[in-house]
C-alpha cells in the first residue's frame, strides 16, 4: 500500500472515530436527564436525597413502583390518558383529514382564509383558551368527562392535522383520481383510494398529535375534577404540589412509566417526523 493511501485510510478512520465520539457525547447529553429520573425512581426513599448525589444508585429497589397505586390511582390516570388521547385522535384525524382533502382538491370561496386561520392557530398561547374552554365545557355539562378533555385537545389536534394532511394530499396529483374515475370508479371510490395512498401521511400525523395530546397538561388540569377523568400529567402535578412531603421517588416512577408508550413510538416517530415537515414546505 502506498504511503498516501495509508495516510488517507488513517485519516478516514480517525474522522469516523471522531464522529462516533461526538455522537456518543450527544447521546449522553440527550439521555442523562432521563437516566436520572429512572435512577431516582429505583432508589430507596431515604437515599433519594444525598449530598453529594449518587449518580449510580448503590441500592436498587422497586418499592416506588409498588407504592405507586397507594399514592395515586395510577392505573385510572393511565387509562384516562389513553381514552382521551385515543378519542382526540380518532375524532381529530377523521374530521381533519376530511377537511384537508376538501381543501386540497376543491377550490371554494374562503378556502385560503380557512387555511390561514389554521396556521395562525399555532401562534396563540394555549393560556388564552383556558377560560373560554372551561366556560364552554361548563355550559355543556362536560366538566370532568372524557369528552370535556377531548374537546380542548382538538384545538391541538385539528389545525395541525388539517395543515399536514393537506400537504400530503397535495403530493398526490389530482390526475390520479381523474384517471381512476375514467376507469369507472365513482367519485367516492376515487376519494377513498386517494386516502389510502396518503396513509403514511396519516400515520405521521397520528404520531405527532398523539404526543401533543398525551403530554398535555393545562387543559386537562382545568376541566377535570376527579380521577374519573384526570390524566396522568395532572396526577403527577397533584403529588408535586402537596403542602409538604413530596414523594419524589413515586413521582419519578410515575413519570417514567408515563413515557414508556412514548418511548415505544420513538422509533416510528423519528422515521416519520422529519419527512412530515419537509413536505409541508
Amino acid at each position: 500500500m502506498s504511503k498516501g493511501a495509508a495516510k488517507r485510510i488513517l485519516r478516514k478512520t480517525f474522522s469516523r472515530l471522531g464522529i462516533y465520539v461526538i455522537l456518543f457525547i450527544a447521546l449522553v447529553w440527550a439521555l442523562f436527564p432521563l437516566y436520572w429520573i429512572f435512577s431516582t425512581s429505583v432508589k430507596p426513599r431515604d437515599k433519594i436525597l444525598s449530598v453529594p448525589p449518587k449518580l449510580i444508585p448503590d441500592q436498587l429497589t422497586f418499592e416506588n413502583y409498588q407504592r405507586l397505586s397507594e399514592v395515586m390511582p395510577f392505573l385510572q390516570y393511565f387509562f384516562n390518558s389513553a381514552v382521551i388521547t385515543g378519542g382526540a385522535l380518532a375524532l381529530g384525524l377523521t374530521i381533519g383529514s376530511l377537511a384537508a382533502y376538501g381543501l386540497s382538491r376543491y377550490k371554494f370561496p374562503g378556502s385560503r382564509y380557512f387555511l390561514g386561520f389554521v396556521i395562525v392557530s399555532r401562534m396563540i398561547p394555549y393560556v388564552a383558551f383556558v377560560l373560554p374552554i372551561f366556560l364552554i365545557d361548563s355550559n355543556l355539562g362536560l366538566v370532568d368527562t372524557y369528552f370535556g378533555v377531548i374537546l380542548p385537545h382538538l384545538i391541538i389536534v385539528l389545525p395541525f392535522t388539517i395543515w399536514l394532511m393537506k400537504s400530503f394530499f397535495d403530493e398526490i396529483p389530482k390526475a390520479f383520481e381523474e384517471a381512476a374515475m375514467v376507469d369507472g370508479c365513482s367519485r367516492l371510490r376515487a376519494m377513498l383510494i386517494a386516502m389510502r395512498l396518503a396513509l403514511p401521511g396519516l400515520g405521521t400525523t397520528a404520531i405527532l398529535t398523539f404526543l401533543d395530546s398525551w403530554n398535555e397538561f393545562m387543559f386537562a388540569l382545568t376541566v377535570t375534577r376527579t380521577p374519573a377523568s384526570q390524566t396522568l400529567p395532572v396526577g403527577i402535578a397533584l403529588q408535586l404540589q402537596r403542602l409538604y412531603g413530596v414523594p419524589w421517588g413515586v413521582i419519578t416512577a410515575a413519570s417514567f412509566l408515563f413515557c414508556i408508550p412514548v418511548f415505544a413510538l420513538g422509533y416510528f416517530i423519528q422515521k416519520y417526523v422529519a419527512k412530515t415537515f419537509v413536505l409541508g414546505v
Binding site: L49, V51, F108, P109, G110, L131, F134, L135, S138, N139, L140, G141, V143, D144, L221, T222, R225, T226, P227, V234, A237, L238, Q239, L240, Q241, R242, L243, Y244, G245, V246
Partner: protein, 441 residues
C-alpha cells in the same frame, strides 16, 4: 358565490347557537342529593380526615367527595367555578393568603351567618385566630385543616458543647443559650457561623412566596413597629423606620444563614434538618415548620425545639363554603365537623401544628406532648399573630415584596455583606412605588 359562503356560515353558526341554547337551558333541578364536593389538597391531615369521614356520613347522611386539586391551582379552579353557570364545587380548602382575594369576589359564605362570633369564642376558638381570617367583619373559614407554626430548631449537642460554650463566653461575655431575643439570635448565629456552621437555616425560598418574604419579613417588620400596608388606615408602611430596620436586621442575619434562597423551600429545609447540613456545612439552628418535630429522632444529629423569637404570620388552611353552591348547609355541617373538638384534636396530633381551639390545646392528652407548649407560645401565645394584608390585591403586593426582598439580598451579597441599611431603604422605597401602582393610588 359569496352568497353561498355566507349561507353556509350562517347555517353553521345557527346550528351551534341552537345546540348551545338547548344545553344552557337550566336543567330540571335534580333532588338535592346529599353529596358535597370539596376541593382538597393532599397531606397527612387529609389522610386523617379521610379515615374519619365515614363517621361524618353516618351521623349526617351527607357523603363527601374529595376533589383533589394541586395546591397551587385551587385558586384558579375556584375562580373558574365562580364564573361557571353549572358550578360543582361546594366547598374548598383555601389558604390564608388567598382568602382576601376570594372573599372580595363575593363568592364565599360568611360563617358568622351560621354561628355568631360570640358563639365561636365561647366554643373556645381562639379569638385572635378568628380575627386573622375576618375580612370586612365576615369569617370565611377557620384553620381546622392546617395551622402551621414556625419554631426554632437547635442542635442540642452544639449548645451543650463545653469548648463552644467557652469560646462564646469569651467573645460575647454572656453564656451561650438558646436565643430568646433578636440580639441574642444575631450573636448566636454569628458565633456559629464563625465556627464554620450555618448559624441559622432560614425559610427563604423563591418558589413559596419567595425570599424570606411571607414567613419571615412581614412579622419582623411588625415587630419593629413597621409593616407593609395597613388595611385599616390605608397607609403604605413598607418604608417606615420600623420596616427598614427590620429588613436591615434580616439582611444582616442572612450572612449567617445558608448562602442564598432555597430553591424548593419546605422540601429542602426538611432535608437540611434531617441530614443536618446544607451546602457542605452543618446547621446549628433552623427556623422551620412544626410538622418536622416527629421526624427529629431519625435525623442525623440531635435536635430540639424552642419558642420562636419573632411574631408569626398565620399559615392557615381551612374549609370555606362557596356561595353559588346549592348545598351550602351541608358544607356548613362538614365545616362544623372538621372544626369540632374530636376532629381538631385528631388533626392537631396527626402532625404537630397549632390548634385552633383552646379546649384542644388544654386537653391532657394533647398537652402531654412537649411540642404543644412550644408551638402555642410561638404562634400567638407570647407574641400576637401578625395579620395578613386584607385587600383584594394582597397576592400582588406579596409578590412585589418578594421581588424587592430578593433584590435586596442580592445587592447585599454583591456589596460584600455591608451597607444593609442603605440597601434596605432603597428597596423598600421602590416597594412603596410598587404598592402604589398595584393599588392604583
Amino acid at each position: 358565490m359569496v352568497w353561498a359562503t355566507v349561507l353556509v356560515v350562517i347555517i353553521i353558526i345557527a346550528g351551534i347557537a341552537a345546540y348551545w341554547w338547548y344545553y344552557t337551558q337550566p336543567s330540571t333541578p335534580t333532588p338535592a342529593a346529599k353529596v358535597i364536593n370539596i376541593a382538597w389538597t393532599e397531606g397527612p391531615e387529609f389522610d386523617f380526615i379521610n379515615s374519619k369521614v365515614s363517621e361524618f356520613t353516618a351521623q349526617t347522611g351527607i357523603t363527601v367527595n374529595f376533589l383533589k386539586i394541586p395546591r397551587e391551582h385551587i385558586v384558579e379552579r375556584l375562580m373558574l367555578e365562580m364564573l361557571s353557570s353549572t358550578p360543582s364545587v361546594d366547598g374548598a380548602v383555601i389558604y390564608v393568603l388567598e382568602a382576601p382575594t376570594l372573599a372580595s369576589t363575593g363568592g364565599l359564605v360568611d360563617l358568622y351567618t351560621y354561628r355568631p362570633k360570640s358563639e365561636w369564642i365561647s366554643e373556645s376558638f381562639y379569638q385572635d385566630q378568628l380575627e386573622m381570617l375576618e375580612f370586612n367583619g365576615s369569617l370565611y373559614y377557620v384553620p381546622s385543616i392546617w395551622n402551621g407554626a414556625l419554631i426554632n430548631f437547635y442542635r442540642t449537642d452544639l449548645f451543650s458543647n463545653e469548648t463552644l460554650k467557652t469560646l462564646f463566653k469569651t467573645e460575647f461575655n454572656y453564656n451561650l443559650t438558646v436565643p430568646t431575643t433578636p440580639e441574642q439570635l444575631m450573636d448566636v448565629a454569628r458565633f456559629f457561623s464563625e465556627q464554620g456552621y450555618i448559624g441559622i437555616h432560614l425559610q427563604l425560598t423563591t418558589s413559596e412566596m419567595g425570599a424570606g418574604a411571607y414567613t419571615f419579613y412581614p412579622p419582623l417588620a411588625a415587630y419593629y413597629g413597621g409593616g407593609l400596608y395597613n388595611t385599616t388606615t390605608g397607609q403604605i408602611t413598607c418604608n417606615s423606620t420600623g420596616s427598614v430596620h427590620a429588613l436591615e436586621y434580616l439582611l444582616n442575619l442572612t450572612q449567617y444563614a445558608q448562602p442564598t434562597v432555597l430553591e424548593d423551600g419546605t422540601f429542602e429545609a426538611e432535608q437540611a434538618i434531617m441530614q443536618g447540613q446544607s451546602g457542605g456545612k452543618q446547621l446549628a439552628m433552623a427556623d422551620q415548620w412544626s410538622y418536622m418535630y416527629p421526624m427529629l429522632p431519625n435525623a442525623t444529629y440531635p435536635w430540639n425545639i424552642s419558642e420562636r423569637i419573632f411574631p408569626q404570620q398565620p399559615d392557615m388552611l381551612g374549609v370555606t363554603i362557596l356561595k353559588n353552591s346549592p348545598k351550602k348547609d351541608y358544607v356548613w355541617q362538614f365545616v362544623n365537623w372538621t372544626s369540632s373538638f374530636e376532629i381538631t384534636k385528631g388533626t392537631t396530633l396527626a402532625t404537630p401544628k397549632a390548634p385552633c381551639r383552646s379546649d384542644v390545646a388544654n386537653d391532657p392528652e394533647v398537652k402531654a406532648n412537649y411540642w404543644v407548649k412550644v408551638i402555642v407560645d410561638s404562634y400567638g401565645g407570647h407574641k400576637p399573630l401578625v395579620p395578613v394584608i386584607k385587600n383584594p390585591h394582597a397576592t400582588e403586593i406579596y409578590e412585589a415584596m418578594m421581588r424587592r426582598l430578593g433584590e435586596a439580598f442580592s445587592d447585599f451579597q454583591a456589596a460584600g455583606h455591608t451597607n444593609a441599611h442603605a440597601i434596605a431603604q432603597e428597596k423598600l422605597d421602590t416597594l412603596y412605588g410598587d404598592i402604589k401602582t398595584i393599588l392604583g393610588i
